[in-house]
């Protein structure tokens, strides 16, 4: 054993054994997972949704315009045809901060980090990972880069948004990767819709943005400021074009907000795209404006006998632990959500409105992903919510709350517990392969029904 290792061992932090309560709680979580597995549920996050979370979102940007660099190269070994990484020391620093998928190690091959696209005020650096994925590092001309790594859904490409609101001249970028063979350009956006709203733009004014696809299919586009009002909170149809202008793929993406209620100051809202249906040659146009308004009311499900009273979580604002058992004696409405869901803020506002109209009703909301804690705190404070939000950090807790559809996709849900802590009713979006219908529209009437079922 080397001397450095001996020294480290000598200074190994003394840590107490876990308490029986800690052990029992963790064991219960595992048993719940085993039970859920027996029913065939596969929560989506275990397949790596968290890999798309951005790290160290902070940047400075200047200028306008949109441009890619170079021509599309091979999708394999793309680093061989791309130029060296800009600001390599900063890129290395940020890549060394993680993240990992949680289910598999993501090791960026930093030596192979390359500049794969360029737009006004920023460059896009990509690095392959040892697992066959890649990390994206948008590098502003000034300021600290951010990054994310992707190792799942590699066949479907990726698009994300990146916004800096901290500057006097905010900048909005769209970036990602297309994986269609023969792709040379992308078109943003032939079509812009608001399926969850009753009205809104259907097309962009003027000519759609176009950008070259760089080595490996990567791209970076800066959105001109005059287009922001039309793209804000919209769904945009991205077309992937070949050298002749033929459309190889269409896909529809939620573009997020340039200033989200959930985003800390100056931090990007990250678009959670609708899925690209299929691979090369697939066609997935955006649903018409208003198409989902009437089709996605949260539906009431049958009561169940599950007992959630053992569930506890940490308040995102105060940091205090809240146990569901403390709500026993009166009905409780629990909203399960996630800041990435396009209708999350309206979901919370509806829940809050209901709570204010019924001061005797207990209301609580839960998150399942601790990495959303900061956003949830920001949103709770910005919206002035009158109920607490807790992070139930165990991956499958509340263990029997159904907020995933049959395909393992995440949605919104409300669970009404009766005075004894049993699930009396559940409001959840319809099970659908089309993700937009998972986002639900929570109505006061649905909440009234749920409360009545819970004996309130």
């Amino acid at each position: 054993m080397s001397s450095e290792v001996k020294l480290l061992t000598a200074l190994r932090p003394a840590v107490a054994e876990p308490t029986p309560e800690t052990r029992a709680r963790a064991r219960e979580i595992l048993l719940s997972r085993i039970s859920a597995d027996a029913r065939g549920r596969r929560p989506r996050w275990l397949r790596g949704r968290s890999v798309r979370r951005w790290v160290v979102p902070c940047l400075a940007v200047v200028g306008l315009g949109a441009a890619g660099v170079g021509l599309a190269g091979s999708l394999e070994n793309w680093w061989e045809s791309a130029g060296p990484a800009v600001r390599p020391a900063d890129v290395e620093d940020v890549l060394n901060e993680g993240p990992a998928t949680g289910t598999g190690r993501m090791e960026p091959e930093i030596d192979r980090a390359r500049t794969v696209a360029r737009a006004s005020g920023a460059s896009l650096v990509a690095a392959p990972t040892e697992g066959g994925g890649y990390c994206l590092v948008p590098v502003p001309d000034e300021g600290k880069p951010i990054h994310t790594c992707i190792e799942d859904d590699l066949d479907n490409g990726e698009i994300d948004t990146w916004v800096d609101n901290a500057r006097t001249d905010p900048a909005w970028y769209l970036l990602g990767r297309v994986v269609a063979e023969r792709a040379t350009r992308i078109e943003l956006f032939e079509r812009v819709t608001h399926p969850l709203e009753e009205s809104g733009a259907q097309t962009l004014p003027g000519t759609p943005l176009e950008a070259d696809v760089g080595p490996g299919g990567f791209f970076l586009v800066r959105v001109p400021r005059e287009l922001w009002p039309d793209l804000e909170l919209a769904y945009g149809q991205m077309n992937v074009l070949d050298a002749d202008g033929g459309v190889l793929e269409r896909s529809c993406h939620y573009l997020g907000a340039t200033k989200s209620v959930f985003a800390p100051e100056g931090i990007a809202s990250v678009g959670d795209p609708l899925e690209v249906e299929g691979k090369t040659g697939a066609s997935y146009p955006c649903p018409e404006t208003g198409a989902a308004v009437d089709r996605v009311p949260l539906l009431q499900a049958s009561p169940r006998t599950d007992d959630l009273t053992g569930v506890a979580g940490r308040d995102v604002v105060t940091g205090e632990t809240i146990e569901l058992a403390s709500y026993l004696g009166r009905p409780l409405l629990i909203g399960a959500w996630d800041p990435d869901i396009p209708t999350a803020s309206r979901f919370l506002e509806a829940l809050d409105e209901f709570g204010r109209r019924h001061p005797d009703v207990q209301v609580l909301s839960v998150l399942h992903d601790r990495s959303f804690r900061a956003e949830a705190k920001q949103g709770s404070e910005t919206l002035g919510l009158g109920f607490p939000t807790i992070v139930v950090t165990q991956p499958f807790s509340p263990p029997r709350v159904f907020i995933w559809d049959a395909n393992g996709h995440f949605g919104l849900a409300v669970i009404a517990l009766d005075a004894d802590g049993r699930i009396a009713a559940e409001l959840a979006a319809p099970r659908s392969r089309d993700p937009i219908y998972r986002y639900g529209m929570l109505t006061q009437r649905a909440l009234e029904d749920a409360l009545a079922a819970a004996g309130g």
Binding site: P13, E17, T22, L30, E97
Partner: protein, 197 residues
Amino acid sequence: MDDVDDAAIIARSSEEPELFATVFDRHFSQIRVFLQRRIGEDADDLAADVFSIAFQRRDRFQAVHRSALPWLYGIASNLVSRHRRSEIRTLRALARLQSAEPGEDESERVAERVHASSLRLPLFEALAKLHARDRDALLLVAWEELTYEEVAVALEIPVGTVRSRLNRARHLIRTTIAGGDGEAPPQARRLMGGLDV
């Protein structure tokens, strides 16, 4: 069940999932202690996550390894990598801890520990500066006392890569403790000459 190794239990758990709880019973304490050392306050939650993830991915466990512990350390290390900021905060808090005061029975061993404590600040600062992958390998050896082969299983890398990561980590630590002149302070030289721990 006590005489059945983890590999056999995990194999059987594909048909009888509840058997996986035995793996939890055997290894939860060590995994939770590891996470407490690495990231502090979220250790309870993450330790629970480790076993849920392990259950989810149990079909990928390689039955050639009888014990699941290195594999579980690997999952835990991956979770730590999602909490790098917490880890760095924890390391810096450890760096600021006061050195332990020796008791009345001031044996040579206690004296060594006091000397070691005097190196706490540069040591933990150096740990915080290491590449995450190097730190993972180093701390699995130094704090969890895994063999190189077990670290290789945990991190899913060849043993040679374990050695190179450890070499890189040790070099940086030695350089940091030695300071800019490359000369280790006397207590460091003494400790590095052979600390009895």
